[in-house]
Symmetry: none
Subunit: 202 residues, 4 copies
DNA sequence: ATATAAACGAGACGGTACGTCCCGTCTTTCG
DNA sequence: CGAAAGACGGGACGTACCGTCTCGTTTATAT
């Protein structure tokens, strides 16, 4: 049996890519992001800071924006903030989660993420991953709570869950984008309360 | 009394700015926006296309982004789509308006506007104007409908109007940003129905 | 008469090019040439040293090689080493000139010039100018001496002047290229003597 | 007796270098030289074309220039165009040889060889070999003819042979470098005739 | 009518960053 | 264990725009 990998691995040749290098690049990108903002995350600056050649960066990402997206994704582990201990009611848990999302997106990092999302070319693979990880993961979490609230009889069973989710999470990004009102915990409570008002089981 | 303007006007001398030039610049910017997207709206390209010197553009705007915002604002007269003729119920009118807003932001121009808003420096005067004109004008329109619906007894009087408005208009930008579901008329109907469900007068 | 320039000047528009900038670039190029050799005359290094943007250099020259050629041409005024005072015989004057040419091309600058000539694209306008100024100017000077020598009866009148000139100046570049023997004053004397041996009027 | 080489060879271990590989590299280099010129003979391009790793090339040559020199040397077997059959006079034979040299250096390959020679670092071993093989071999051939011409009494015995050789072969490279006049057979005849004019035995 | 002065087109300028090519070295896996 | 493959740090390329700065040329007032 001369072959080691049974037709599953593509048999990589040549020097393998260095994970350490990749991490150094992401670290540098994250530092610049924090210190100087997204406009300064240029391939040139990141390469210089990471002690890396520009071509190495281009080997992994096709431009500074994609690099930024990866940096933001891998930098913030995106929590999955405690999947609700069951002790507490589903709607209360949802409210708490929305509050934490609001808080996250009220921060600089949150704004950067949204900006990046808005700027990105929508169809790239990385953009989709970023969207799922950064923008939609909270929405998916929320879906679990809503379903549980229905199971537990707190919400009516005929609720249009998808629309309800947009009602709950949409306003967060709206305020972030338009800035017409503050992003704080009170806001989180108001949204959830009002959005679910009409869905309550009587 | 040698002065004509009684110490209020600063007595303009020299050649006045040419409105035709300003319009040519905006026209060129809009064309590039349509043909090649917001990334290509560079001061250089606009100047070349408008047959204008770069300093002339900088005399009016401080960078390409501000120019784009003006172009977008003056290009789309922003409708103010018939302020509801009173014949029709306030909630129906609101639903129709939301549908038209959804349609507008489903277009390329709409996406460009939102992107520009996201990218803009939040504190500039022009950015505020842009925000009011492009992002918040629809919300303000909506507020009128909501108030009328309360007056007409369709909605309860103790409704938190501001939150309700965010509930209605937020999801539009959310879907535009995240792209997880389509922006169409059905969506408009669903949002309004669900958002107001809990505010209905019983 | 509204026009100032009577159809002779091409009516320059825009900010004129700064001669000071051009000279600073050439100075920097010459310095690098001296200190580090022709390989180090990169557009980037010259721009940095001259305190000039790269595009400014590309506005004048299309690559580092052309820049080097200009630097070498304008740097060494190419002497026209005293056009022979008439007091001395034409052949003696020629010998002295050849000796000075040998000396010049024995230097680093000389080698650089020849190398540049060899590397240059032959058909460019600048390459032709460089060839005339740096490589062929000495040959043209020599032609004057040969003619005078014929007039003065030192050489026969039926001599093939062009071939004779190649016989005299060719060996200089040959030795420089092949390096099989030294470039010194003795060599200059030998060449001229032997080359003209067969042309002496009897 | 397990060893093949009887203790005189340095006991080669491991996979021996493949001569086929070496030839493939040289072939690829020669092809690029022909098709795209000397500037395009980069180690990278040659490796790709020859289907060879870059380190393999660096194992044989220290840079692309040396590779080019070898390619040019081994590509053109350098003729040694008929070592004079004795039937014909030495001066006639010399004239014929000079004509063939002129023809060779009038070609693209000739120009490339001279360019390479000019660019090369003079002190490298390979550069010396190249110079001897490509630039000076014709001169050495010529020396034989000159000596024979003296022996045969066609030329005077007190001739400075080295200078005479430079007089004959120098103009070829001069014209190639400066391009002020064509390189053709007539030129070859003229040079030899004029150069030897003064050395003829009377 | 004639100065005066700002706006204008043109485009050069010092810069920053782009994305690409190639260098020469290194680190794997394959034959 | 040599050779292919190819990643790596690095340097330079030539280009696109940036925002600023002269230029010479209109074009309206204000004298």
């Amino acid at each position: 049996m001369p072959k080691k990998n049974k037709d599953q691995a593509p048999a990589k040749r040549g020097r393998p890519r260095s994970e350490a290098t990749r991490l150094a690049i992401l670290k540098a990108a994250r530092e610049i992001l924090d210190e100087a903002g997204p406009m300064r995350v240029t391939v040139e600056a990141v390469a210089a800071r990471a002690g890396v050649g520009k071509p190495t960066i281009y080997r992994y990402w096709s431009n500074a924006q994609e690099l930024s997206m990866t940096a933001l994704m891998e930098g913030a582990p995106e929590g999955a903030s405690d999947p609700a201990t069951g002790e507490v009611g589903a709607i209360e848990a949802l409210t708490a989660q929305v509050a934490s999302v609001v808080q996250r997106f009220a921060s600089r990092r949150g704004r950067q993420a949204a900006l990046l999302m808005a700027t990105a070319e929508a169809d790239s693979e990385l953009a989709k991953a970023f969207r799922n990880r950064v923008i939609l993961s909270s929405r998916n979490e929320g879906k679990v709570y809503l379903k549980r609230a229905i199971e537990e009889g707190d919400l009516r069973g005929d609720v249009a869950i998808e629309t309800a989710l947009d009602l709950i999470y949409g306003p967060i990004f709206y305020r972030m984008l338009a800035g017409h009102a503050p992003l704080n915990e009170a806001f989180a409570n108001e949204i959830v309360a009002l959005a679910l008002e009409g869905m309550k089981a009587r």
